[in-house]
């Protein structure tokens, strides 16, 4: 579905899906081949096939600019395939291929957004054919003439057919006209001749050259295909055969005593042998570089997968969520309190078990490995390191780690930005690295791993690292600091760069430095309930960790009561909970309440105050402290009491309620009550 929910016609959906998949595959192979400076047979064939498919599909959908481009690239790789020992200028070749990929991606993007695919691929096509010409000049093309040679053999194979039967041979003349636009009429004519051989002792036809000459196509279109032949078959049998011809528009068939003049004038008399030797054409065994297939990561390859419209999956997930809620409403129904219900409870347990299983399976359907997203970064590293003249290697770890599809869509852009940052500002130029005693090739590592209920994605580089002082100064200038430098941890200072408008770069480069990047990254990550934390050592490198929940839809929560209201605190944010002692609660110089735990002071946030709730539990000693943390800070939330742990289905706040800071969403409890889900970061930011 396009973003505004309009369902496009299914053929277009599939075309776009396949086009995207194929270009991604193509990009991977290209980058790999370019890096290794060699193309093995398998890769050539794959590239050729992909171009071929894109060419055909695009033509079917009338996206001719894409089709023509794919065609020209297909020709290029056809040549490479047939002439293995070419001298290939890998840079030129793959620069062109990648430009082509970009063009196709752009056009596909336009189409996906219901715009016209109006880009012109002319210049790329020209480049491509020039490159092909250049390659041809460098290499003598022998294969074609050899193919022709073998073909000729079929036709020159003359042997006499001795007619054993007593039946009378009759002469016939037939003229065939083909349907407009069926193409390759010369080959169709060849089909007719080939099929007639079975029942004829001689065949003459005009045009006579239907193999070597493509001009015959025009002649056939204009004048039809004229055949004269002799056979013992009956007219009905002959007619039947002719009428089976595909794309036949018109047939004139008559028995004759003598062939017309034009047929007699053909100087090559072709006598037919009853069976053509079936020569299977093996294109001359050209010396294509026979290396072991490169270890191209097949993450984008077609596996046994069916593609399902994502909206159907969303519906399914929604429904499962509702079932989980309904199940709780049945089994925890207030009507059942106090009743003796052994059998019911047993059945309810089974229902619970099945509901959980159902939930697990549905969630797993939406889970996808991060490999696709990670591998997209290869292209960025390649392009940027070329442009910036830096040598950078991208290492990918844990790409099989799976994450909800929804989340994958949201981390792609932030990841790209972070990788760009590393390349632009993190990794130093070769001389600088050499002078610092580092190896000239910089390294960027993308790692994904599971930890508890979250997934961690870590981008690290071995570049120049972050300058703590510089960041603090800049933040101070922008009025963002509230505490003196020595009170702040490295993590806290580094997190300043996530604030809007922040950028310590003196110059704005093409890729970054406009100060609008990092805060957008943070917003993106926040929107999926994730968190960013930054670590760095000056001179050694930096590491940015993104923690994201496994799923948006269902979380483990701790139910708490504040007054008559119920709140859910996401378990992943909770460190511990306890009943405070009076003397543990202190106040700082500004009158803010703090609590001392194991020598550290944590600010206290009273939920009844924040949400203006009437409650009798005011005294610290009467309530419960829940210590929570987001990626940067820790604090204690003061609530009346704990109710219990519960898995809840997260529902977004209805649109008619304005965004409330500190509330991430809501859910319906088993007893039918509504519980608001706490957004820990929102509370701690106050």
């Amino acid at each position: 579905m396009s973003d505004d929910g309009i369902i496009r016609e299914p053929m277009l959906e599939i075309y776009l899906f396949e086009a995207t998949q194929l270009t991604e595959q193509l990009e991977e192979i290209s980058i790999e081949c370019e890096k290794n400076k060699k193309i093995d047979t398998e890769s050539i064939n794959e590239i050729f096939r992909i171009m071929h498919t894109i060419k055909s599909s695009s033509a079917m959908m009338s996206f001719n600019n894409i089709s023509v481009l794919a065609h020209s690239l297909e020709d290029l790789f056809y040549f490479i395939r047939e002439n293995g020992s070419v001298n290939i200028n890998f840079e030129k070749l793959f620069d062109l291929v990648l430009l082509g990929i970009d063009f196709i991606k752009d056009e596909v993007f336009k189409i996906e957004n219901d715009n016209e695919a109006d880009g012109s691929s002319e210049s790329l096509v020209l480049k491509s054919s020039n490159l092909l010409q250049y390659m041809k000049q460098d290499n003598v093309n022998d294969s074609k003439s050899i193919l022709l040679e073998v073909e000729d053999n079929i036709n020159d194979h003359i042997s006499s057919f001795i007619d054993c039967s007593d039946s009378i041979k009759q002469k016939y003349v037939a003229k065939i006209f083909y349907e407009d636009g069926c193409e390759m009429e010369n080959v169709r004519a060849y089909t007719v001749v080939h099929n007639l051989k079975e029942i004829t002792t001689e065949i003459y036809h005009v045009p006579s050259d239907i193999i070597e000459s493509n001009d015959s196509v025009d002649v056939i279109r204009a004048n039809g295909f004229l055949i004269g032949f002799a056979t013992t078959a009956t007219k009905q049998e002959i007619e039947k055969r002719f009428n089976e011809i595909i794309f036949l528009r018109e047939l004139e068939l008559q028995q004759v005593e003598e062939y017309p003049q034009e047929l007699k004038d053909i100087n090559v008399k072709k006598e037919i042998s009853p069976e053509d030797p079936i020569i299977i054409m093996n294109p001359q065994e050209v010396e294509v570089i026979k290396e072991e297939p490169l270890n191209v990561n097949k993450s984008a390859k077609q596996q046994s997968i069916i593609s399902v419209n994502i909206s159907k999956l969303d519906m399914l997930l929604d429904l499962v969520g509702e079932i989980v809620i309904s199940e709780a409403m049945v089994t925890k129904n207030p009507d059942l309190v106090g009743l003796q219900l052994d059998n019911f409870k047993k059945a309810a347990r089974q229902l619970r078990k099945l509901t959980n299983e159902l939930q697990d399976v549905v969630m797993s359907i939406r889970m996808m490995p991060v490999s696709m997203t990670f591998h997209k970064m290869n292209r960025i590293v390649r392009d940027m390191s070329k442009k910036l003249n830096k040598e950078v290697e991208l290492e990918i770890i844990g790409e099989e780690t799976e994450v909800d599809k929804n989340i994958i869509d949201h981390i792609s852009d932030p990841l790209m930005h972070l990788v760009r940052n590393s390349l632009d500002h993190g990794i130093e130029e070769k001389q600088e690295r050499k002078a610092a005693g580092k190896c000239e090739t910089g390294k960027i590592t993308l790692e994904a791993k599971n930890a508890g209920g979250d997934v961690f994605i870590i981008i690290s580089d071995d570049g120049r690292g972050l300058d703590r002082k510089k960041i603090y100064e800049k933040a101070k200038l922008q009025g963002l600091v509230t505490r003196p430098e020595d009170e702040l941890t490295d993590k806290e200072i580094f997190s300043y760069i996530l604030l809007p408008g922040f950028s310590t770069n003196e110059s704005v480069t093409e890729f970054s430095g406009r100060g609008v990047g990092m805060d957008v990254v943070k917003k993106n990550i926040d929107s999926i309930g994730g968190a960013i934390s930054i670590e760095s050592v000056m001179g050694k490198g930096s590491s940015i960790s993104i923690k994201i929940p496994l799923t948006l839809a269902i979380i483990d929560g701790l139910e708490v009561a504040v007054g008559v209201s119920k709140y859910t605190i996401p378990i992943m944010s909770i460190r511990e909970s306890f009943k405070p002692k009076i003397n543990e609660v202190i106040e700082d110089s500004d009158g803010n309440e703090m609590i001392m735990i194991r020598g550290e002071a944590y600010p206290i946030y009273r939920l009844h105050q924040i949400f203006s709730i009437n409650t009798k539990v005011i005294n610290s000693a009467d309530g419960i402290m829940v210590m929570v943390e987001d990626n940067v800070k820790s604090a204690c939330l003061f609530v009346d009491s704990l109710i219990g742990e519960q898995q809840v289905v997260v529902k977004a706040l209805p649109k008619y309620i304005k965004k409330a800071k500190g509330i991430a969403g809501c859910t319906i409890l088993g007893d039918g009550n509504i519980s608001l889900i706490i957004d820990v970061t929102g509370i701690l930011d106050r």
């Binding site: 053929m11 396949e18 071929h52």
Partner: protein, 117 residues
């Protein structure tokens, strides 16, 4: 209703051809994504007509044609080819394909081509 097996590595192409053939009154009994699968499915499904794309991974159209014809010499096979594949199409004819359709095709083309089958 005549039964057809469609072979092409691109889902898009299979779907296009399927919808066009169905409009002509054919029943699509199977789809194959490469030549090897085409031969297997032919043996299982015994369709009346098979369409074979030429360029496919694992096993191409020509090889599949050979394989199917070996199994059933009366198999009715139509090659789906692209412009510029004259040589291969000719070989296919020699090997027994009854005809070919050129990509890109539209509903009209398919209707005309398959009307005789």
């Amino acid at each position: 209703m005549k039964r057809v097996l469609i072979t092409d590595d691109a889902t898009f192409m299979r779907l296009s051809l399927k919808s066009m053939l169905e409009k002509c009154g054919f029943e699509i009994v199977g789809e194959a994504e490469n030549g090897k699968v085409a031969i297997e499915k032919y043996k299982k499904l015994r369709p009346d007509i098979v369409t074979l794309d030429i360029t496919m991974p694992v096993m191409d159209g020509l090889e599949a044609l050979k394989g199917i014809k070996e199994f059933d010499k009366n198999a009715k096979i139509i090659m789906i080819s692209a412009m510029g594949q004259e040589t291969i199409v000719r070989q296919a004819i020699i090997l027994g394909a009854i005809g070919f359709v050129i990509k890109p095709f539209n509903q009209q083309t398919i209707t005309k081509a398959f009307s005789k089958l």
